[in-house]
C-alpha cells in the first residue's frame, strides 16, 4: 500500500516536473496569481450627493447616478447606502462645518472609509441651453479625517456623463493606482438589414456611435493598444475577406491584410508590433502574424485543421487560440513565434473564442456544456483551474475582458435576440448594455486610457 502511494507520488513528481519544464520553456511569466483575489477587501464608499447649483433640474442627479454606478462597477469600492445605515445625507452638506462634521464622524464610525460629495451647475449664469456645465467633487477620507482633495470639471452639457466617469476613475486611481474603467469603450457589431456595421459605445452602454456604413459585413473588431484604431474583418472587397483598420477620430479606413481567401480574428499584440490573425489563403484556416513595421507575414501554424481566434498574453510572449486539429474546436497555447504548441482544454467537445485576461491569470472562452449550451468558461493558463461562468438559456459568444480584468463583455441570446452584456469575472452582476436593434454581437472592450 505504501509502495503504491510512493509510486503515485513519484508519478506526480515526474509529471509535474515535465509540466513545469513546459512552462519555463515558454517563458510564461504571464501567470500573475492572486491579481484579482476573490477575498479582495473592497473599500467602503458613500456618495453623499451631487447638489444642483443652478443648472438644469436633472444635472446633479444625473451625475450622481452615473457616479454611483461607476463606483459600484469598479469593484474596488463597496458602495454604501448612507441613509440605509442611518446617516442623514442632508447633514453632510459641503464643507466640514457644524453638523456635517458630526455626520462625517458618524459615517466613519459606521465603517465608511470614503465619502464623496459635490455640486454641479451652469458655468456662467446663462439661459442658453448649450451653456457650459461645471462640476465640483470632493473626497473625504475617514482614515486621515480630512478632505483629501477634489476635482473641478467644465464642458458642454453633452459631456456630463463623462465628468462623472472621470471623477470615478480618479477615485479608483487614488486608491489603487490603476486608471479605472469608467472611461473605457466597447466596440461591437450591429445588424442593419443584411449588413453588419461597427459601432462603439461607452462601457455602460451610453453614447452609441456608428463607425461603418458600407452595407456589407464588418465583423469581430479589436482595439489597437492606443485606443485610436479598430482592426476587423471586412467583406467590402467581394472576392476576398480582408482585414481592415479604421481610425475612430476621422473615420478613415483602409485594408491592412489582403491575401485572398478568408482573413479573420485580427488581434494586435500589446506593444502594437504584431498583428496576429487567421487566414485561409493557403488552403485551410491557419494563424499568421504580420510585423506591423516591416509588413512581413509569418505563418505560425501548419496542419490540416482550422486554426483561428489568436489572443495575446499580456506580455506578448504567447498566444492562445482555437484549433479543431483534434476533431472539434479546442483551446491551444503557443509561443508568439508558433513554437511550443500545447492543448489547454480537455473538458467538453467544443471550446472556442479564447481571450487572455489583461492580468494574465485567466483565459475566458466559449464552452459547450454537456446539455449542448454555449456558455462562458474560464481556465487558468496552466489548465489547473476551470470554471463555468454563465448558465441558463441562450447562446453566449465573444467574451472580451475589461482592461482591469474584473469584468467581461459578451453577447448572448438569453433575452431572445443577440444583445451585449457585462458580467463580473466572478460570475456576478450581469448587466445588459444594448437595447436597440435586433442583433448586437462581438463586443471588444477597449484598453484603459
Amino acid at each position: 500500500m505504501t509502495q503504491i502511494k510512493w509510486v503515485s507520488a513519484l508519478g506526480c513528481v515526474l509529471v509535474c516536473a515535465v509540466g513545469a519544464f513546459g512552462i519555463l520553456e515558454s517563458g510564461a511569466a504571464d501567470v500573475f496569481l492572486e491579481a484579482t483575489r476573490p477575498d479582495f477587501q473592497k473599500i467602503s464608499l458613500g456618495v453623499v450627493g451631487i447638489k444642483n447649483a443652478g443648472g438644469p433640474d436633472w444635472l446633479g442627479g444625473r451625475i450622481e447616478e452615473v457616479l454611483k454606478r461607476d463606483v459600484k462597477r469598479s469593484l474596488v469600492f463597496d458602495l454604501i447606502d448612507l441613509p440605509g445605515i442611518g446617516i442623514k445625507v442632508q447633514d453632510l452638506d459641503v464643507g466640514l462645518q457644524g453638523g456635517a462634521k458630526a455626520a462625517l464622524k458618524q459615517a466613519a464610525e459606521s465603517g465608511v472609509s470614503v465619502l464623496v460629495w459635490g455640486k454641479a451647475g451652469l458655468k456662467e449664469s446663462s439661459k442658453d441651453a448649450d451653456a457650459d456645465v461645471s462640476m465640483e467633487g470632493f473626497v473625504y477620507d475617514s482614515g486621515s479625517d480630512e478632505v483629501i482633495g477634489g476635482k473641478r470639471y467644465a464642458g458642454s452639457p453633452s459631456v456630463v456623463r463623462m465628468m462623472a466617469h472621470r471623477f470615478a476613475d480618479e477615485l479608483v486611481f487614488r486608491y489603487t493606482g490603476e486608471p479605472g474603467i469608467a472611461r473605457t469603450k466597447i466596440a461591437y457589431v450591429a445588424e442593419q438589414g443584411t449588413a453588419r456595421e461597427l459601432f462603439v459605445m461607452d462601457y455602460d452602454g451610453y453614447d452609441v456611435r456608428q463607425l461603418t456604413a458600407d452595407g456589407s459585413l464588418n465583423l469581430m473588431p479589436r482595439w489597437s493598444p492606443d485606443r485610436r484604431f479598430l482592426v476587423f474583418t471586412s467583406y467590402r472587397n467581394r472576392n476576398s475577406q480582408d482585414i481592415d483598420m479604421i481610425e475612430l477620430a476621422t473615420g478613415k479606413r483602409w485594408t491592412v491584410v489582403s491575401l485572398g481567401g478568408l482573413s479573420i480574428t485580427p488581434s494586435l499584440s500589446p506593444d502594437g508590433n504584431f498583428l496576429a490573425f487567421a487566414s485561409s489563403y493557403e488552403g485551410n484556416s491557419e494563424l499568421y502574424r504580420l510585423d506591423t513595421r516591416t509588413k512581413a507575414v509569418q505563418r505560425l501554424t501548419t496542419n490540416a485543421a482550422g486554426d483561428l481566434s489568436p489572443s495575446w498574453s499580456p506580455t506578448g510572449r504567447e498566444l492562445v487560440f482555437t484549433s479543431d486539429r483534434g476533431g472539434g474546436p479546442q483551446i491551444f497555447l503557443m509561443s508568439a513565434d508558433g513554437s511550443n504548441v500545447r492543448r489547454l482544454t480537455f473538458d467538453g467537445d467544443y471550446n472556442a473564442a479564447p481571450v487572455w485576461s489583461p492580468r494574465g491569470n485567466w483565459i475566458a472562452y466559449v464552452c459547450r456544456t454537456p446539455r449542448k449550451e454555449y456558455k462562458l468558461c474560464l481556465i487558468t493558463p496552466d489548465g489547473q483551474k476551470r470554471v463555468q461562468l454563465t448558465t441558463g438559456p441562450g447562446v453566449d459568444d465573444s467574451p472580451s475582458w475589461s482592461p482591469d480584468g474584473r469584468h467581461l463583455a459578451y453577447s448572448s441570446t438569453a433575452d431572445g435576440k443577440s444583445q451585449i452584456y457585462m458580467i463580473n469575472a466572478d460570475g456576478k452582476d450581469i448587466e445588459r448594455l444594448t437595447f436597440v436593434g435586433t442583433h448586437n454581437s462581438a463586443p471588444s472592450w477597449s484598453p484603459a486610457s
Partner: protein, 230 residues
Amino acid sequence: MRKMLWVYGLALVISSSVVGLSGCSKTAVQSGGEGQGTQGAATGATPTSPSSDRSTSSADSFPDTTMQASSGGLRGLDKNPSEERVAGNSTMVAKAESSSSSAQQAVDTRAEQEALAATGLRDVLFGYDSWTISEDARQALIRNADWMKSNARAKVKVEGHCDERGTTAYNLVLGEKRAKAVRNYLVELGISANRLSVVSFGKEQPICTEHTDSCYQRNRRGHLAVKTGK
C-alpha cells in the same frame, strides 16, 4: 497486480508526456521553418482593392499603435483643484456610403437572386457541426452540376452558412469548410474549379432567426449563387 497496474499507468503517463513534448518541439521546428519560408511571400500591406474608395497607400497602412505610458489623463485629486475641461466624444460618426460599393452590392445581390430563381440551383443542407456532404446533398449537387454543364459560361459562388449556435469566429471557419466541401464535390462531378468560388458567411446571414431545430437546419446550408458582374 494492483501495483503492476500503477506502474504501468505511470509508465504510460511519462511516455505520453515525453511523446507529447517531442511532438510539440517537432511541430515547432516545422512551423518555424515553414514560417521563414513564407516570410515576405505575401505582403500584408498589399494595395487595397479598387472598390475601396477611402483606401490609403501601403506606406501609411500601419500606424504606430503603441500605448503611451501615462495615467490616462488623470491628474489626481487636488486640495485646490483647478478646472479641467472635459472634451466631447471625438469618435467620428459614419455616414452611409452612398457610393459605389454598397449600392453596387445591393444591385449585384438582387441580380444574383434573380439569376438563381431562373436556374433552380439547389441549396445543400448540413448536419450539426458537420461539413460532410450527405446523400441528399449529393443528389442536389448532381442536378446543380448538370445545370452548370448546360450553362457552360456561368460562374457560381458557393456560400457556406451556419446556424446561430457556436462562436462567430468558428462558424466562419465551419462555413468555409462547408462551401469548400460543396465546391470539391462539384469539381469531382466534372465542373472546372475556376468556375467556382467560395465564401463563408458563418452565422452572419441566417435565412431563419428562430431558436428552433428546424430553423437551425435551414441555416446550415451551402448556397449556390450565379456570379454576375465581374
